[in-house]
């Protein structure tokens, strides 16, 4: 590849692409543009160890500044891209000269879905997506604060656990009839609901937020059934949407994310995309996916980088996810859509168990609660499309890979 590669986005995907490009011996001009002033950093700790104060800001960085200097990576940080011109292969930025590219990689990420109800923009209402969000929330958290979390998904529950640790009084409001309902089996929802309740967190299910109320700042959350929850702080975690504005304005195909092929190429041959912002085909699952995960950002960025240099690597991975809540680790591998049988290995009362999702004899996905052994075994088994005996898999004394 001759010329200049530009990466837009300093998250997991952007950082990984830099790494892969230089390791693949790409020696020419490499520019990484980040809208935030920070060096590329990891987001997962924002709701956990960074929010709790256990992890200093510098420990979020993927690499120190010296790494970028050493690898001749030009960092353009704290500058927003205002437009991409695919015909001229140029990028317009705020307060920065036009940049030209020969290959462009979009790692635009996703943004928090906003509450649309009355009072949603009151002070004291927080989202948790980037470092600035986390610092803003952190600056308001104090012992005794009443925190109401809207949304019982990963972000909401991780934040709830951290706030309790910091001495807050916490409630979680969830629209569905169970926690994390889109990603875990009911038995896992029940386990985590009990863990949160044990730590004094009030879990309210089947509830819809109608409005946020307050004079100068938020004072309460009003639910559709009329229930009012007093709040000093509200944290909203109701999902995310792919950031596609730049791509759409540049004329790239977008449909619930930037549409890419299995090589991470967009509808413009010189532009690639990776991470949360993409809608990508999955050969394994035979359908298009849009995933919000570190793993997907990492793997797609690696694939995109190799292909930008002339490779023809297909992105076809088994996705995996994790969440830390109190001292519990939830590990998920695979996607459970299409499963026709679910078996539980072990007893949730032991605080270590796993849930297998089968389609016939094929293991499609596994959720492990404090059970890294089953999780790691499942990563291999799912990748190999191994056939197991679901009845045998039900016996936790039989190692998963021997349950054939």
């Amino acid at each position: 590849m001759n010329g200049t590669i530009v990466i837009i986005g300093g998250g997991q995907a952007g950082a990984q692409a830099v790494d892969t490009l230089r390791r693949e011996a790409y020696t020419q001009r490499l520019i990484l543009i980040g809208a935030e002033p920070e060096l590329p950093y990891q987001r997962p700790p924002l709701s956990k160890k960074f929010l709790s104060g256990e992890l200093a800001r510098e420990r979020l960085w993927f690499r120190h500044r010296g790494f970028y200097d050493e690898h001749r990576v030009e960092l353009v940080l704290g500058k927003s891209v205002t437009g991409i011109d695919p015909d001229a292969r140029s990028i317009a930025l705020e307060d920065h000269p036009l940049l030209r590219y020969d290959r462009l990689l979009l790692c635009l990420g996703s943004s928090s879905r906003r509450l649309a109800c009355e009072g949603a923009d009151l002070a004291g209402v927080h989202y948790l997506r980037d470092l600035r969000d986390a610092c803003a929330l952190q600056s308001e958290i104090r012992p005794g604060a009443r925190v109401v979390i809207v949304g019982g998904g990963y972000i909401g529950l991780e934040t709830a656990a951290t706030c309790v640790k910091l001495g807050c009084s916490v409630k979680v409001l969830e629209m569905a009839d169970r926690l994390m309902n889109r990603v875990v089996a009911p038995v896992v929802s029940t386990f985590f609901a009990a863990e949160h309740a044990k730590h004094g967190i009030g879990i309210v299910l089947d509830t819809r937020v109608a409005a946020l109320a307050g004079r100068d700042r938020v004072e309460s959350v009003v639910c559709a059934d009329g229930t009012v929850h007093t709040a000093d702080i509200v944290v909203v975690g109701v999902g995310a949407e792919a950031r596609t504005d730049l791509a759409r304005d540049a004329g790239l195909a977008c449909d619930n994310g930037i549409v890419v092929d299995e090589f991470c190429r967009t509808s413009d041959a010189a532009i690639y995309a990776a991470g949360d912002c993409t809608n990508h085909p999955s050969p394994r699952y035979g359908r298009r996916l849009r995933l919000e995960s570190v793993d997907n950002a990492f793997e797609q960025a690696k694939t995109a980088a190799q292909n930008m240099l002339g490779g023809s690597v297909v992105h076809d991975r088994v996705p995996w996810f994790w969440s830390d809540q109190f001292d519990n680790k939830l590990l998920i591998v695979g996607l459970q859509q299409g499963a026709d049988r679910t078996v539980v290995r072990g007893d949730p009362a032991d605080r270590s168990f796993s849930v297998c999702h089968f389609a016939g004899r094929e293991l499609l996905a596994l959720e492990a609660v404090n059970h890294s052994k089953d999780y790691m075994a499942a990563r291999k088994l799912i990748a190999e499309r191994a056939r197991l005996d679901p009845d045998r898999a039900q016996d936790p004394s039989v190692p998963l890979r021997e349950a054939t």
């Binding site: 997962p44 990492f298 830390d324 890294s372 990563r379």
Partner: protein
């Protein structure tokens, strides 16, 4: 300053400074040590920061907890001296620690 040595699968060694209080994985990542992928960033969720600890050091590290042992079982070519570098916190006592990075990660 505390120092540690990373040896790659071909035997090439690299000595780097390792600030006390951070994990061995973070040390590797800061210095761009090849082969320490650390996808999950230290959450003990991916087993891609796997290292082989030199025999004279294995007993001087705090033992691995169940979660780490479970991850290591299916890591790439695990051995008795396998550890996840994200679970090793640097202390002054670990000055001179020497580990080998596997040829591949999970």
């Amino acid at each position: 300053m505390t120092k540690v040595r990373f040896r790659d699968a071909d035997g090439r060694e690299r000595e780097v400074e390792a600030p006390v209080g951070i994990s061995l994985m973070e040390v590797a990542r800061q210095h761009g040590v090849v082969g320490i992928v650390a996808q999950c960033g230290g959450a003990c969720a991916c087993a891609t920061c796997h290292v082989y600890v030199d025999p004279e050091w294995t007993q001087r590290l705090p033992p691995a907890e169940d979660m780490e042992l479970g991850m290591l079982e299916s890591a790439w070519e695990p051995r008795d001296n396998s550890r996840l570098s994200c679970q090793i916190t640097m202390t002054a006592e670990l000055d001179g620690l020497r580990v080998t990075v596997p040829a591949e990660q999970a």
